[in-house]
Structures are given as structure tokens and as C-alpha cells.
């Protein structure tokens, strides 16, 4: 077995990506996009000044940028071109056509899939849960539709290398942008891709084989693949793969307790031969702990003092909480709601750029409670091309929801609060910021939920432009985003900013107990995660690094084969010393990950009764007795050098002459006996006699 971690990923929106070679099959785990890199591009420039900016960026930027290399970044440093998207950097080094299976664990892990499915020769089988596939599809469609704005703005581009990718352009990029574009080792330029089309998305989802919760999928009769909920998001899962060489479980980002998605089902991952642990989410908390910036609270940005502002960003970037646990998660939500209410009370609007579906659904519920109790009547808008479909879908997949939500199904209530709120028009859903219905209904102050969290795409861009100078308004961001960079185009920024982090994986302190419960025979664990992982004396632990292939010796010592009892009864059993043995018959099948010997459809017409393999050395006296039992008379005659064809004169042979019933000759050498007879029957009888004086099968 071979394992390569292609990318550690980064938080919720950029799950880890790895390649696994199992039983000779190459399996890719997840195919995400790194949206945080999108911030090097400028959002679509504002309608009036936009044209001018683009014109100017064509001619003078090179000079301008050169002059201010070491200056503070500003909005003009960003790349004014149709953005490309950054995928996992080492994935493009693999030939897509060599991948046999792709396993998608979450909607986020699916967003880069069309890049793969549209590549030439890609023929892998893609598995994802039903919910992941559906949500993933909607997110991809949304992405394509949001990106459309760029395409409309910049006009059609010829295929080929865009302007910003040229070396001379890259050279003059400010170092912060350059690092994102090229990577630390300047080798990540190949990871950038032009966005897929709606047709690519369609083709991609068509290729996905969807699975129900814990449904078994059998690949090639050899691998049995099963998804179990990971708790990260609705439909998100961990995988178990069993093959004749052992059972493997793969854990990606998982959450123990969730108040929307089905909980992390770790029981199902117990007792495997190999556990691939690739939840890197605690890396983030580790770094944060080191930086000691665990402050919690909203921060007001002021444009006057740049340095002060930077400090604020750091504070804003502070995580809300590091532990998992639904109650703490709920506190965070409550805090966001309180801040939102405060802003609204002050006459400002609230813009919530959070793209975590579960968080969004809960926020909607909480917010409506807060609004109700505060007796404010503020409209809540959701602006996204797929919001309507997503919200509708959320209410019809009880199978992927947490226990409390399932209880709602059993008592006949809607699974999420938004259904009622939408009916009461407390929440209004619009497909785009420029849709006529929205313009008709628009009221300020208001609370708006809108993608995209990178602040480069979607309605959020327009609304930020509108509110960025209003100090009563509030912007709610996700962590994992470099806020300084993300907000560049919207400076000067007067809005309050609340950046919050939500649980997106297994906490460090839970790793050890988890491993103790799961008891894998061997464990693959990231080297970067500094946490105690000793869980048993006898088990093997392999530490892995990003982009280092790790070979793991075979997990179980022997393959198992099952022989149908009816067939086994037909075997002729021979015993030799301690052992009893029998020659196999039938046909070997690979069925459902198991080797099975079944009685062949066509039993060989002439079943060989002869023993085909002999060992030992024959006792000639005994042979004579055996022969005489069959009515064959003979005598022993020592001949030296009388070999077959005279080829081996140095090999001494003992000869046994048969006189009756007809003449025959048996030449016995050390490792060979030659029976010479003109009569088939006699030859076969002599051969039978040989069988009884030799070991054979």
C-alpha cells in the first residue's frame, strides 16, 4: 500500500487531499479548490469607475507596481483580470487517466472535481454520498454563475496563458501576492486553472455514483467502499475501504457533535487494519495558540492608522473558540446574532459572508428568535443563485441530519426553521443582487446572507461596496481568510468586522481518545500534528509529510479464500504424514472483495484422476508387491548407465522389467521414473502402483 498526502488543506473550505494505492488501485481522496488564493484577484470593479481602471491597468501598471514594491498593499496591487482558481498543487503532476477511484468526502472536496473530470483520459469511478453530490453540484453551479460576472466584465478571453501569469508580470507582483500565486517554493503556478463551465459541472455530477448512508459500493469486485458520516457538514463522510489485503478507514475533518449534520460515526471505523488520519484542522488551533491571540470580539476598523488597523485584523482573526462542542458553537452563533441586532439597532445593515451551510441554517433560526425578541422588524435576505434549491434540499434529507433534527421528522415538524420563516416571508430568498424582486423589496437596514466568503465573488462584493463606509454596519466573516488581503478592495473600511472560526475538525485533545477507541492495527498520522498518539503497544504508527510517498507493508499476512462447502466435499483427500491435502477444482472468483472458489460452470469433461505431482523415492520391493497385487509380474534388474536416449549415462538407473501380462520397463532414477509400456492399460496400472509407493497429489 502506498499513501501520498497531496495537500494538508486549510480549514473547512479546503479539505485535505491525498492519494492512496490499495490493492493496485489508485484512489484519490477529495479534490478541493483553494479559494483563499482567490484574494489576489480584484473583484469586479464598481460599475462606473471599473472601465477606466481596467484600461489603465493594461498600460501603466508594470511601471507603477515596480515603483512601490515595498509599499503597503493597496487595492490597485491586486490582479485586474478574470480570475483563475488554485487547485491542489501536486495533483496536476499525476496523470488523471491513472486514477481508478475518486472518493469525495464533502461538498467542499468536490468543488475541484470538474477540473479532473474534464481532463483528457479521466475514467475513474467517482463516489460521493447523495447529499454531498447534490450540495456540491449546487455550490459548483453557484460558483460558475458568480464567476460569470467576471467573464461579462472582462469579455471573452482567448485560451492560453493569461496576462498575469507571464513571468514579467509575476516578477513585479507584491511579495504577498507572489507568494500566493507561486507558492513558497515558486512551484505552484501549475495549480492554477481557468474555471470550468456549467457543462463541465453537469458532466462531472453525471459521473458521480451517489451512495446512501453506509451503502456498500463494490468496485471491480475487489474493493468494498462505504461512507460513514463525519459530522463536518450535511452529507460529509469518512470512508472505509476493504479489500482482500485488509480493511482501511480514512478519516478526514470530522466533528463529534453537530447541531445540524449527522454526528461523526466513529464506531463504524473501529478495528480496521489501517487508519489514515488526515484531519489537519487542529494545525490551525496549534498555530493560533502559539500566536496567543485568543481574543474574542468585534473590532472596528479605522482607516486613519494603518498599523492600528493591522492589529485589529489580527484581533479580528482570533478564533472564537477552539473546542468542539455544540454548546460553544451555539454561543458563537448567539454572539453573532447579538452583534447583528446591535448593528441593526444602530441603523446599520449586516452582511454575513459565511458559506458554511450548517452554520447558515442555524444562524437563520437563531437570528429569527433574536429578531422576534427584540421586536425589530428587519428584513433578512439571502442572495445566491442556488439558495432556493439548497434550502429546499435541506428540508428533504433527514437521513443526513443529527439526532435532534431527525426527531423533528418523527414529530412531523420541518427539519429546519427556515421553512416556516420563508413562508412567513421573514426570510426572503433572491437569486441575484440585481433581481427585480429584490430591488422591489429592498429595505435598509437589513441582514443579508450572501456568498462568497472570499469576498471576491457574488453579491457580497456589491453590498460591501455599498456599506463599507458605514460604521454602523457589520460584516461577519469566516476565519481562514486573510482579512487584510480580503478587504483591500473595499478600503477605506468603516464597517465593523466580526471574523469567527467554527469547529472544522477533531480537537487535538480528542485525537488520543479517538485512536484508543478505533484501535487500528496500523496508523498513518501527519507528522505536523504535534500531539500524543500512543494508543497501544503492538500497533504500528507511520508518520507522513505532505508530498512524501509512504509505502506501508502489507497489512494482513495472508489472503483468505472461501470454498463452497458442496464443492469442498467433492475434493479427493490424500494424506501424507501429518497433513491431509486435496487438489482444488472449480473456478476462482473475486466476489465482493473475497476470493471464492465455486464449482465451475463447466466441469472439465475429463476429470484427471491421476496424481500429477510426486515426491519421495520409490521402494522397488514395495513397488513389486503393489504390481503383483494387480497381477503384474516383474523383476528388478540393476543397470548402470542405461539411460533414456543415452542422454544421462552418469545418472544410475534401477530397472524393473515386467514380464506379465505383457512386456514393460520401469526405469527408476533419483528424481525420475520412466514407465515404458506399449499398452495403455498396463501403463496406467503401473502408474497406479507408482502412486502408492510415492507421495503424490
Amino acid at each position: 500500500m502506498e499513501f501520498t498526502c497531496l495537500s494538508k488543506g486549510d480549514g473547512f473550505h479546503f479539505p485535505p487531499c491525498s492519494m492512496l494505492n490499495l490493492c493496485g488501485f489508485r484512489i484519490l481522496l477529495d479534490c478541493p479548490i483553494d479559494f483563499s488564493a482567490l484574494t489576489i484577484f480584484s473583484p469586479v470593479p464598481p460599475a462606473f469607475s471599473g472601465r477606466f481602471d481596467v484600461e489603465s491597468s493594461q498600460t501603466e501598471p508594470v511601471v507603477r507596481k515596480r515603483q512601490r514594491i515595498e509599499k503597503q498593499l493597496d487595492a490597485n496591487d491586486l490582479i485586474f483580470e478574470e480570475p483563475w482558481y488554485k487547485t491542489v498543487k501536486s495533483l496536476h503532476l499525476w496523470d488523471a487517466s491513472f486514477i481508478d477511484i475518486v472518493l469525495i468526502s464533502s461538498p467542499m472536496g468536490m468543488l475541484g472535481l470538474p477540473f479532473l473530470t474534464r481532463s483528457k483520459g479521466f475514467a475513474a469511478k467517482v463516489y460521493a454520498t447523495e447529499a454531498t453530490s447534490r450540495i456540491g453540484q449546487l455550490l459548483m453551479e453557484d460558483l460558475v454563475s458568480m464567476h460569470m460576472e467576471f467573464r461579462q466584465f472582462y469579455g471573452p478571453k482567448d485560451s492560453g496563458c493569461p496576462q498575469w501569469m507571464r513571468w514579467e508580470e509575476l516578477q513585479v507582483l507584491p511579495s504577498a501576492l507572489k507568494e500566493i500565486a507561486l507558492g513558497k517554493d515558486c512551484e505552484e503556478l501549475g495549480a492554477w486553472m481557468p474555471l470550468y463551465s456549467a457543462a463541465d459541472v453537469k458532466d462531472c455530477t453525471r459521473r458521480v455514483q451517489t451512495l446512501k448512508y453506509a451503502e456498500e459500493a463494490c468496485y471491480n469486485g475487489t474493493l468494498i467502499i462505504k461512507p460513514f458520516s463525519s459530522g463536518l457538514e450535511i452529507g460529509a463522510c469518512n470512508w472505509t475501504i476493504s479489500c482482500p489485503q485488509g480493511n482501511t478507514a480514512c478519516i478526514s475533518n470530522s466533528i463529534f457533535g453537530s447541531s445540524h449534520a449527522m454526528e461523526f460515526d466513529y464506531d463504524a471505523l473501529q478495528g480496521n487494519d489501517l487508519l489514515v488520519y488526515s484531519d489537519f484542522s487542529s494545525l490551525k488551533t496549534m498555530e493560533d495558540a502559539e500566536n496567543n491571540t485568543n481574543n474574542f470580539g468585534p473590532v472596528t476598523g479605522t482607516s486613519s492608522n494603518l498599523r492600528e488597523e493591522d492589529n485589529h485584523w489580527q484581533e479580528a482573526a482570533a478564533t472564537l473558540l477552539k473546542n468542539d462542542g455544540t454548546s460553544e458553537e451555539a454561543e458563537k452563533l448567539a454572539f453573532i446574532c447579538t452583534c447583528s441586532i446591535d448593528s441593526v439597532k444602530a441603523g446599520g445593515s449586516v452582511l454575513i459572508a459565511i458559506d458554511r451551510l450548517g452554520i447558515l441554517l442555524q444562524l437563520l433560526e437563531q437570528l429569527s428568535i433574536f429578531l422576534e425578541s427584540s421586536t425589530l422588524s428587519v428584513p433578512v435576505y439571502i442572495i445566491s443563485s442556488v439558495a432556493e434549491k439548497l434550502l429546499a434540499y435541506m428540508n428533504i434529507i433527514p437521513e443526513w441530519l443529527c439526532k435532534q433534527r431527525q426527531e423533528k421528522l418523527f414529530s412531523g415538524e420541518p427539519l429546519f426553521g427556515h421553512v416556516k420563516l420563508m413562508k412567513e416571508r421573514k426570510i426572503q430568498v433572491f437569486s441575484a443582487v440585481h433581481s427585480p424582486e429584490l430591488l422591489k423589496n429592498w429595505q435598509e437596514p437589513c441582514i443579508v446572507f450572501s456568498p462568497h466568503w472570499s469576498l471576491r465573488l457574488g453579491a457580497v462584493v456589491h453590498l460591501l461596496r455599498r456599506w463599507c463606509s458605514d460604521q454602523n454596519s457589520l460584516l461577519v466573516l469566516e476565519s481562514g481568510l486573510d482579512a487584510n488581503m480580503a478587504l483591500l478592495p473595499f478600503k477605506p473600511m468603516e464597517m465593523k468586522i466580526l471574523q469567527c472560526s467554527f469547529t472544522s475538525g477533531i480537537g487535538l485533545q480528542k485525537v488520543q481518545p479517538l485512536l484508543k477507541t478505533l484501535q487500528p492495527k496500523s496508523l498513518l498520522f501527519p507528522k505536523d500534528l504535534r500531539c500524543p498518539i500512543k494508543f497501544s503497544e503492538s500497533n504500528k504508527i507511520y508518520l507522513y509529510h505532505e508530498n512524501e510517498m509512504l509505502c506501508i507493508p502489507r497489512m494482513n499476512h495472508s489472503t483468505e479464500i472461501e470454498i463452497v462447502t458442496d464443492l469442498a466435499y467433492t475434493f479427493k483427500v490424500k494424506s501424507w504424514k501429518q497433513e491431509s491435502m486435496s487438489r482444488l477444482r472449480g473456478e476462482l472468483f473475486m466476489e465482493h472483495g473475497k476470493y471464492r472458489l465455486l464449482s465451475g460452470s463447466k466441469t472439465a469433461n475429463s476429470q484427471q484422476q491421476r496424481l500429477l505431482l510426486h515426491w519421495g523415492s520409490p521402494d522397488l520391493e514395495k513397488l513389486l508387491t503393489e504390481l503383483s497385487k494387480k497381477g503384474i509380474d516383474g523383476s528388478i534388474k540393476q543397470v548402470n548407465g542405461g539411460a533414456i536416449d543415452g542422454a544421462e549415462p552418469e545418472n544410475p538407473a534401477t530397472t524393473l522389467l515386467v514380464h506379465h501380462p505383457s512386456k514393460a520397463l520401469i526405469e527408476v532414477r533419483e528424481a525420475c521414473t520412466v514407465i515404458t509400456a506399449a499398452d495403455e492399460n498396463l501403463a496406467s496400472q503401473i502408474s497406479d502402483a507408482m502412486d502408492s509407493v510415492l507421495g503424490g497429489i
Binding site: 446512501k212 428533504i396 421528522l409 412531523g412 463452497v564 472458489l597 472439465a604 502408474s687
Partner: protein, 650 residues
């Protein structure tokens, strides 16, 4: 180990479905239904047969409920709460959601009829709490050995067929199913499985149903006619299933015909039921599913809640009222009011149990019905019977049995004479042993087992590489009969015997092991001793005039070399004409067919020659042959050809 199947209910009848199957030490109860036709102890399956002591927890591994109909779930609260079964109960999400509604409805009716209460509301609630909901195709590991899985069955929302596997033995219990998609549900779907036993329903064991389409049309026409004339339409149904199906039908029709007549649902119960349907839209048919975003099909636009005051309100309307069959309650109350008016219509969807008003309406055209001693109802309204059925028909059952090809089949949930006919068909047409036990009978069938062994890598590798042998068969000696033979059968037979080179070794106190024969000697610590056969075979030579006999036996080595080759070539031609199997390879010095090795022998005295009497030696040439045991039969075949043939040298 045999599989034992104890039929506690729905054996040669319809009602109180309950089958207990023992497989490899596990015992599973499929369905736990009650019989609508009885009010005594016959109402429930005879649970005492599972365990005399009443210790159901150790007697059963789990209970599986296929769908929410009372004849499949009606006895569950009694079994778990009153009899005290505490083990796991599995059903699909929709069944878990909808079953309490059905049970509660039933309990209330029991109450109303003044029957002794078998279980309380509390019981239902407690019982449902313990139920483990499963998704379709979700593989549930009940315990280490027992695995179950649900497959879509159609019939009603959430109905499932269940697959259960213990060790190597596997069975499927279908529950009720429908192989044809209807207005709101898809058709039953299952994958090919290796089954020892299939337990299938057989409600329509002997009939093939026509399309529903016409009946739907007639129904809609009747309803339209009635409301157009200002009449009221009463549709007595149970809260779940049929109500939604017919309502979908009406909604669609209302939309198409642009009708504005109100459609009422009698109680909050049914409105509530629609709520469930909306959330469970994923379990309905593809067509309904696809539209959920823009409009959830169960968001009925024309449906309003009914109010008692509306019973005698003027104007046309359509009313869905519970319970079905007009067995009492609200639907009966409305019926009493509406029946005397000629313009009204009562539509009875589905089956009505003997003794109900619905049954009386369907079984004749009564003008007056005696409700009890004091009450009489004048029936002047129209009565329409709508025979929708969500069960598969005989063709569907046969298709399923054929598709799954189980080793055995058991029929339940049907009428005895019809089951007998279906059993005959299954046995004669499909060759599958079939049983239809009566209640409380046990059927025992044998199950397949497997011997488990370790397999060596060499064995696996050797088995992965092909080992083709081509056998020519049906090639006759005479060309005349040959033409006949070749018509039907292909002349070339491909044999790929890969496992015959391998050996199963069993040692005492050790797991059996499968190894390749090459590994065997190493394992035994023995040296191979090859056993071969040899024979120096004389063949008659016919010389042409030019070549003298002396040329052959002479010591002129230069000529000999040439002649050796030509002789072998001649032999090769002869053999290839006559030999039906094997592939002749010419190596110049010798010919080889499998392990059979033949070369010209020029020795005066060869040890492999048996006949000493050499007459006409000049006309004979010797071919020395040797072969190994594996090709014994082939070798003697070749030798007999060689002995008979004559080589013509030119």
C-alpha cells in the same frame, strides 16, 4: 446449518404478517402485524411459539418492520411494551415517522369500538423511541455477524424489502411491494444478490393487472361530473398513502382543468401527514422528486382544512375523510349526511373489510343500510369503486423471483389456492423449490456454507494469469459426419483451469491453507519425483520408387539429418489431420504436444521399445515418445494414431 422459517402470520392468508427466520444462530422477526378481521387473540401472531418462557430478548436478534401498514406493524407496541421485547427494532425513516400515526389511529378506533385496549398511546410513543431508523441500502451491522439492508419496495411511502445476512447465508423478505411505479412512488428496486431464501408476498399470486391509467380516468370523470353538477364528493381513506396518491391525482387534474372547487382534508391528521410526505419527498417517485425545489408536490394548493360546519354548506366540494372503509368515525358521520342526496358521490378506494359500511356499498347496490338497530341510512348518492392496488401482480412476483434466483422461495401474504398455482409456476418455470406454509408452520431449508482457508500469494498470482487450453471438440474422423457435428457446437472449446495446479492442505489444529503445487514440496520438505511414460513407437513407411530402403537404415549421416526432419514433418501433418486436441509444435528435432514429446529414434536397440520381434524392419521407422502423467490420455490417443498410420515418403 439449515435456515428455519417460522410463519406466525400471513401464512396462506392476508393479515398479521409475521415471519421468524433463524439463520446461523441468529433469529430475526420480519414484521409484527395484526389482523383486522379478528378481535380476539387471533388478532396477533402467536408469539409464544418464539419462546415458551416469553424471553424474547434472548430468542430474537432483531425485529424488522417493512412498512407502516397495520397488518405489518400493528402488533409491535404490544410486542415491545406489553410482552417486553427490548431488543433492536429496525425500520426505514418514513416508516418510523408515519407508523405512530397509523398506530394511534388504530388505537383510537379500538377505543371507540369499546374493545379492550391492547396498548396505550404511551406504549406507542415508548415503542417508537426504541426504533432504529435506516436509510435505503444502508448496510446495518446489527451485531458482529448479522447484517441487514433495506431496498426500495414501492407499495407505500417508506416500504422496504429487507436483506439479512449471517455468515454465508442470506435471505430477502420482501414485505409488500409494487414493481410498477405509481403516481407518487417508484417501483421496487433491488440488486442481484446471492440468496438462500426469498420470502415474498403473493397478494396477486394469480392475476395480472392492467394499466391504472383507465381507472384513474374514470375516477376523475366521475368526480368532475359530480362537482360540475354541484354535488359533494366523499372519499373515505386512511390518513396515509392512498389519500396522498389520490390527492396528487386530483391536484393535477384541478390544475389542468382549472377547477376551483375546494378539496378538503377532514382532520388535522391528514394535513399533518402531508407534512411528513413533504419532508420525505426523496422516498417518492423520480417524477415527484424532481419538482421539489420549485414546488413540493405535497404542498397541495387546492387543499383546505375541513370544518364540521362545512358538512352542510352549499356548493360542491371534495372531501377526504378518515377512516377508510366507512368503518366509523368522521367519514361515516359525513356519509350519513351526504348519502341521501342523489347528486353526491362516494368513492371507495381500495379494499374494504367484511362488516364495514364500505363493504356493504361495494358488494351490492343497497338503497338502505342499517347502521344499527335504530339508525338507517338511505343511500341515494352515486357510489364509485376505485380499485387501486399497490401490490405487485403475478408477473411482478415471477420477475422478482427470476431476477433474484434464490435457492428457495417461500410465499406468504396471499390466498391459499392462488399461492398453490404460483408455487407450481415458480417450481416448474424457474426450477426453484417453493413453499407456502400455513400459520405456525416451520419450513426448513439448507443453506450454503463455505470452508475458509488461507491462500498463498503464489496461488493468487497464478490464478490471476490466464491458463487457457484450447480443445478442439466435435471433430470427427470422417469428414462426412463432420459437417453435421459442427453445425450446433463450436469446434473450439476454451478451457481455463487455473485452480487445478493448487492444493488445499489441512493440518491438525491449523487453518486450512491453499497453496500452489510448486510450494507444496517446499512445505513438505520433500524432493519431487517425476513420473513419466515413454514408448518407442514404430510407424510403417511406404517408400516411393526413387528412394531406396537403404537410405533410411544406412549410416549415411548427411541424409539422415534431412530425413529425420522430413519424417517428423510427415508425422506432424498426419497428427494434425487426425488429432482433435492439443497444439502441435515443431522444434525441428522433435515435435511437442503439451508434454508429449516425440522424436525419430535411430538406435538399434532402444530401451523404450517393447516388441522385440522386428519383422520388416526396413519398412518401419521408430519414433521415441515420452510424456508426463498429466497428458496420459492425450498421449495414448496420439500413439494409437501413430501406430495405425503409414508415412509416405517421396
Amino acid at each position: 446449518m439449515p435456515i428455519e422459517c417460522l410463519v406466525l402470520g400471513a401464512g396462506q392468508e392476508v393479515g398479521k404478517s409475521c415471519v421468524v427466520v433463524s439463520i446461523n444462530g441468529k433469529r430475526i422477526m420480519f414484521d409484527c402485524g395484526m389482523h383486522m378481521g379478528y378481535a380476539d387473540s387471533n388478532r396477533y401472531p402467536d408469539f409464544s411459539r418464539i419462546s415458551d418462557a416469553g424471553d424474547f430478548n434472548s430468542a430474537l436478534s432483531c425485529v424488522i418492520i417493512t412498512h407502516f401498514h397495520l397488518d405489518h406493524i400493528g402488533a409491535l407496541p404490544y410486542f415491545t411494551q406489553v410482552l417486553g421485547y427490548k431488543g433492536p427494532v429496525y425500520m426505514t425513516y418514513p416508516t418510523k415517522a408515519l407508523a405512530p400515526i397509523m398506530l394511534e389511529d388504530y388505537r383510537k378506533n379500538m377505543d371507540r369500538r369499546g374493545e379492550e385496549e391492547q396498548f396505550t398511546s404511551q406504549h406507542i410513543e415508548e415503542c417508537m423511541k426504541r426504533v432504529i431508523a435506516v436509510d435505503l441500502k444502508q448496510t446495518v451491522q446489527v451485531d458482529k455477524d448479522l447484517q441487514i439492508r433495506a431496498y426500495y419496495a414501492g407499495h407505500v411511502l417508506g416500504a422496504a424489502m429487507f436483506y439479512a445476512k449471517v455468515g454465508d447465508a442470506a435471505i430477502v423478505y420482501t414485505g409488500d411491494y409494487n414493481t410498477i411505479a405509481d403516481r407518487h412512488l417508484g417501483a421496487a428496486q433491488i440488486e442481484r444478490l446471492q440468496l438462500d431464501l426469498l420470502i415474498t408476498e403473493s397478494t396477486y399470486a394469480n392475476s395480472v393487472r392492467d394499466s391504472k391509467y383507465n381507472r384513474e380516468g374514470e375516477f376523475l370523470k366521475a368526480v368532475h361530473k359530480c362537482v360540475a353538477a354541484g354535488g359533494k364528493v366523499l372519499i373515505p381513506t386512511f390518513a396515509l398513502g392512498r389519500a396522498q396518491e389520490i390527492c396528487l391525482l386530483l391536484e393535477d387534474y384541478w390544475e389542468r382543468m382549472n377547477l376551483k372547487v375546494p378539496i378538503y382534508f377532514s382532520a388535522g391528521l391528514t394535513i399533518q401527514a402531508n407534512m411528513y410526505y413533504k419532508m420525505l419527498v426523496n422516498w417518492t417517485s423520480q417524477k415527484v422528486k424532481e419538482t421539489y425545489v420549485t414546488h413540493n408536490a405535497f404542498d397541495f394548493k387546492h387543499v383546505q382544512t375541513f370544518d364540521r360546519s362545512l358538512i352542510n354548506a352549499p356548493g360542491p366540494c371534495v372531501l377526504f375523510a378518515t377512516p377508510g372503509m366507512l368503518s366509523g368515525g368522521y367519514s361515516l358521520e359525513v356519509f350519513m349526511q351526504w348519502a341521501p342526496c342523489e347528486g353526491n358521490l362516494v368513492t371507495l378506494p381500495g379494499y374494504c373489510v367484511v362488516g364495514t359500511i364500505g363493504y356493504k356499498l361495494m358488494s351490492g347496490k343497497p338503497t338502505r343500510i342499517n347502521l344499527d338497530k335504530d339508525t338507517q341510512i338511505d343511500v341515494r348518492c352515486q357510489v364509485h369503486q376505485l380499485s387501486f392496488s399497490a401490490h405487485t401482480d403475478a408477473k411482478g412476483i415471477m420477475d422478482l423471483v427470476k431476477f433474484l434466483s434464490p435457492k428457495n422461495a417461500i410465499l406468504v401474504h396471499g390466498e391459499k389456492p392462488k399461492m398453490a398455482i404460483l408455487k407450481e409456476r415458480i417450481e416448474s418455470e424457474l426450477g426453484i423449490p417453493c413453499f407456502y406454509p400455513a400459520n405456525n408452520e416451520t419450513v426448513s431449508i439448507s443453506s450454503t456454507g463455505h470452508v475458509k482457508a488461507h491462500a498463498s500469494d503464489t496461488f493468487i498470482q497464478r490464478c490471476l494469469s490466464p491458463n487457457f487450453k484450447f480443445l478442439k471438440c466435435g471433430v470427427p474422423d470422417k469428414s462426412a459426419s463432420g459437417s453435421k457435428c459442427t453445425e450446433g457446437i463450436s469446434r473450439l472449446q476454451v478451457v481455463d483451469e487455473r485452480v487445478a495446479d493448487s492444493i488445499l492442505v489441512e493440518q491438525k489444529c491449523k487453518k486450512a491453507k491453499v497453496i500452489h503445487q510448486d510450494e507444496l514440496l517446499l512445505m513438505l520438505g520433500e524432493k519431487e519425483h517425476e513420473v513419466k511414460f515413454a514408448y518407442c513407437c514404430p510407424i510403417r513407411i511406404e517408400k516411393s520408387v526413387q528412394t531406396g530402403s537403404k537410405d533410411l537404415s544406412s549410416t549415411d549421416n548427411q541424409h539422415l539429418g534431412l530425413d529425420k526432419r522430413s519424417l517428423l514433418e510427415l508425422l506432424s501433418v498426419k497428427l494434425s489431420n487426425k488429432l482433435s486436441e492439443g497444439n502441435i509444435q515443431d522444434f525441428g528435432e522433435h515435435l511437442q504436444i503439451e508434454s508429449f514429446h516425440v522424436s525419430v529414434c535411430l538406435k538399434d536397440k532402444c530401451s523404450h521399445r517393447t516388441s522385440n520381434s522386428i519383422e520388416n524392419q526396413s519398412e518401419l521407422v521408430f519414433f521415441c515418445c515420452n510424456w508426463s502423467v498429466a497428458d496420459e490420455k492425450l498421449a495414448w490417443n496420439i500413439i494409437s494414431i501413430m501406430e495405425c498410420c503409414t508415412l509416405n515418403t517421396t
